[in-house]
Symmetry: C2
Subunit: 187 residues, 2 copies
């Protein structure tokens, strides 16, 4: 079970913890384009992706759909600005492929943290990973050209490009769809 394997990579798993995880993380299948979280609502669940690809996005002032990020197999995801604070978020989260996720509610998650404080390390680790990625994106958006940002994406997550529509990638890179199409055309 990928979920347990991932967690075991971060903290030592006792039988008790394993039982709690099996109990509280609920496995569920989702279909392509199914909505995991809707803007304006409070995030109910933290998810773990066993299979599939999730896109987080929002609509800017002009109503344009802008991709914040993609998440895939082995990632823990949620809308962090909503789940932990229970404040409504502007972000949507949606399945880009059929897939299988495990979901846990905030109250179950908090209970696990109380029962097994070592699990805090899991949350911390997840947050740090998010933060590291965020830092890299900021750096890229600050001073790399569209071409460089695309190249980096190709190097790091080449599969994304095959799995999602071009338009959503363009907004992820901070450029228009036309520009991305031209970048791909070059060379």
């Amino acid at each position: 079970m990928l979920l347990l394997t991932e967690i075991a990579g971060i903290i030592p798993i006792t039988n008790e913890i394993e039982a709690a995880i099996r109990d509280k993380f609920v496995k569920c299948d989702y279909m392509k384009s199914e909505c995991l979280h809707e803007a304006g609502k409070v995030a109910k669940d933290l998810y773990f992706i066993e299979k599939g690809l999730v896109r987080m996005f929002y609509h800017n002032d002009a109503g344009k759909d802008i991709t914040y990020g993609y998440y895939t197999e082995g990632d823990f995801i949620t809308v962090p600005d909503s789940f932990f604070t229970q404040v409504p978020s502007k972000y949507h989260m949606e399945m880009m492929e059929d897939g299988t996720l495990y979901a846990i509610t905030l109250s179950d998650f908090n209970q696990i943290l109380i029962d097994y404080p070592v699990m805090q390390r899991l949350e911390n680790k997840t947050l740090r990973t998010f933060l590291l990625k965020a830092g890299e994106r900021i750096t890229a958006l600050q001073f790399q050209s569209a071409q460089e940002r695309y190249d980096t994406l190709m190097d790091n997550q080449p599969s994304i490009i095959r799995r999602v529509p071009l338009g959503t990638i363009a907004s992820y890179l901070g450029i228009t769809q036309e520009t991305l199409s031209r970048i791909r055309g070059r060379k």
Copy 2:
């Protein structure tokens, strides 16, 4: 003591915890332009800013100095991609004004987390705050104009502009110094 006040805002502080904090967080004065962390080294300390302004920056491939962020009174700061992983970082951290910080080493910090697991929540909270800010910057860099990003900075941290050289702000906003100067000139 601002450090204790800040922590008390996040977790309940017992006498024991207060004693541990007073013991392990070492107060130290720094002078303007003093270096808190040098690129290529492993981050030794986590800091809390009682007074002063810290800039985190790096040199890009072209050798240009690029500001990652500014941190001020009440912030916990470190080079997160180095401190927690103990891997060398490309970031520098430097005082922009004379100031007073509290520093704690990773081993002391970890010991506190072991002795008082509730302190994990402090780490969590700090990471979440960093992450939230990072998310906002990504959003801004993705699709806001230079002018909009400057306006946002003015709204959120107007004092920064008075406390640091213009050139470092420009790179923070992802624009050149000349463009920033022109934005300020308008209206």
